[in-house]
Each structure stands twice: as structure tokens, then as C-alpha cells.
Amino acid sequence: MKRMALREILIHPDPRLKKPCTPVDDITPELRKLADDMLETMYDAPGVGLAAPQVGVSKRLLVMDCIKEEGVPPRPMALINPKITWASDALSTYEEGCLSIPEQYGDVERPAEVTVTWTDLDGAQQEETFDGLWATCVQHEIDHLDGKLFIDYLKPLRRQMITRKMVKLKRERARA
């Protein structure tokens, strides 16, 4: 029997979401468990990506699965120490959201394609070029590992408005 694996997702503003994360240097059973829990938490939310700092762990680990279509097998991925090694000149704009900033969305422009290298849970080096939603998602999650949120790309006024809403949301949740 395993204990419940859902982790609590931190809500912005939180200093732990602003802090650059430290690289993972050892793939321990705890790290595998964390990756499993994060995938479960992400599917439960539901979301397409989740970074370790969002569950309060300051480590360079992210999970994602951008398959949304019915009938297509899911593709849960866990990326340890991911690095963008190439980014296309072409840009694309997505209306992004974030599990740490519930129900707030904003257009963010990012490279349309990126090549990412990472270590998988078996310790093997991986490399892949992502496009479409996958490219946006992986960049959004790597930003988290650097203490950056998608609202940092928005105009200051809009960012402040969203932050105020989140402060209010957290106050309401604390009271509930």
C-alpha cells in the first residue's frame, strides 16, 4: 500500500516560486517518488506540466504530458536538469495558464521550437526537439526552475492585477 501521492501546489505569490532551483545530482528513490507524485498531481489538477518548485521542492525537475486528445496514449515525461540547447527564431504565441496561478491566463510569445537535453529517471541523457504546445510547456516549466512565472512576461499592470487576485484567493482559502 502506498500513501496518497497528491502534493499541494503552491499558489503565487510565494517566495519558493521565485527562487532558482538547484540541480539534481543523484536519482534517489525519493526523487522518483517525487516525480510520480508530481505526475499524479498534474493529471489530477488537471494540467499539462508541473515543476518541482510548484510543490515546494527547489530541485531542477519537471513533469509534463501535453497529450490532450481522446484515444491517444498519454506520454508522461519527467525531465531532470533540463536545458534548452537550441531555440528557433520563429516565435509562437500561446495563451498560457499555470497551476500556481489558477484561472488566470495571458498571451506569451516564445520560440516555436526548442531542443532540450535532460536526464531521465533511469539516469540516461535524453535530447528532443519540441514544437507546438510541448515547446511552450517545456519552456514554461524550465522558467519555473529559474524562479520565473509566465506573468513575468505580461505588462506590469496586468501582472500586478493578477498578483492581487492571487493574494485575495490565498486569503479566502486560508479562511475556508
Partner: protein
């Protein structure tokens, strides 16, 4: 001690009642040792032999945070259960990615053969009680989600399918 691979539901061995153990011999002791190691590697709070493909009534439980008080049980059976219930979210490595809150008696008295091969009874509460009952379910060919209503069980299985690649 070896970490054994864990079978995925619905492997047949997970769906049939396990055979009682006749005596505690070296083979059973070896299985217990491997199961303790496997349980800590999950990490988890209990493991039943069918989960590693052995259809015998052998289980281990350790609901401590320190992972150093593993209890070895053979042929466990609930002798007495409290009317008070408790609810814990339960999950299984046999069906990754999902969990469910299961209501069970808060306190159970269980008879079993211990590591020395002696028949003993012990009363468990809290997470220990839940995990012991969860293991006894396994030994009866049941999963924790077999305690859910049909609709909830099917929803859980659907979600598990989505999570599995």
C-alpha cells in the same frame, strides 16, 4: 535482500485468494526480507506477496515514518474490528497514478503467524490498521478499490488507464 518487481493489476495472481503458509521456513523468511526491501523502495507502508507474484498468505507492514519497524505476517486474519471507522487515501504500486479514500474499521485485532512462526494476535490502529487490512484484501484477491462503489471504481480504473503509457 532484493527489491522484487511489482506486478501490475489485473494480473491473475492479484485476483485470487492466496494459499495459507504451512510453516515459517527459510523460503518464507527470504520472501519476507525481500518484501520489506521492496516496500521501503516503493516507498510504501505495506506489501502483500501476490504483488510480487507469490500466491501465498505473506505480508509486511510498516506504517512508521522511520522505516525500521517492519512487521512480518503470515496467514493474517481479522478477528475483531471496531465500529469506528477511519478514512485514509490509499494507493497501490500495482496500479500507479491513482488513489482513493477508503473507509475501514479504525481498529482491528488480527491473528497471524509472526516471524518466529508463533501464532499471535495484535491490535492495530490508525494507518497501521488500514495497511494491515489493505494487505489482507490482497491476500483475498482484492484491491483497495474493490471497496469502492461500482461507479467510483470504474472512474478510478479509467483514470489509471489514462495515466499509464
Amino acid at each position: 535482500m532484493t527489491v522484487r518487481p511489482i506486478l501490475r493489476w489485473p494480473q491473475p495472481v492479484l485476483r485470487r485468494a492466496a494459499d495459507p503458509v504451512a510453516e515459517i521456513d527459510d523460503e518464507v523468511r527470504q520472501i519476507w526480507d525481500d518484501m520489506v526491501e521492496t516496500m521501503y523502495a516503493m516507498p510504501g507502508v505495506g506489501l502483500a506477496a501476490p504483488q510480487i507474484g507469490i500466491g501465498r498468505q505473506i505480508a509486511v507492514v510498516d506504517a512508521s515514518d522511520t522505516h525500521d519497524v517492519a512487521l512480518r505476517l503470515a496467514n493474517p486474519e481479522v478477528i475483531e474490528a471496531s465500529e469506528d471507522v477511519s478514512v485514509f487515501p490509499e494507493a497501490s504500486p500495482c496500479l500507479p497514478g491513482v488513489n482513493a479514500e477508503i473507509t475501514r474499521p479504525e481498529r482491528v485485532t488480527v491473528g497471524f503467524l509472526n516471524a518466529e512462526g508463533v501464532r499471535v494476535t495484535q491490535t492495530f490502529t490508525g494507518l497501521w490498521a488500514t495497511s494491515v487490512q489493505h494487505q489482507i484484501d490482497h491476500l483475498n484477491g482484492r484491491m483497495y478499490f474493490d471497496n469502492l462503489s461500482r461507479v467510483k471504481r470504474e472512474m478510478l480504473l479509467k483514470r489509471a488507464k489514462k495515466v499509464a503509457s
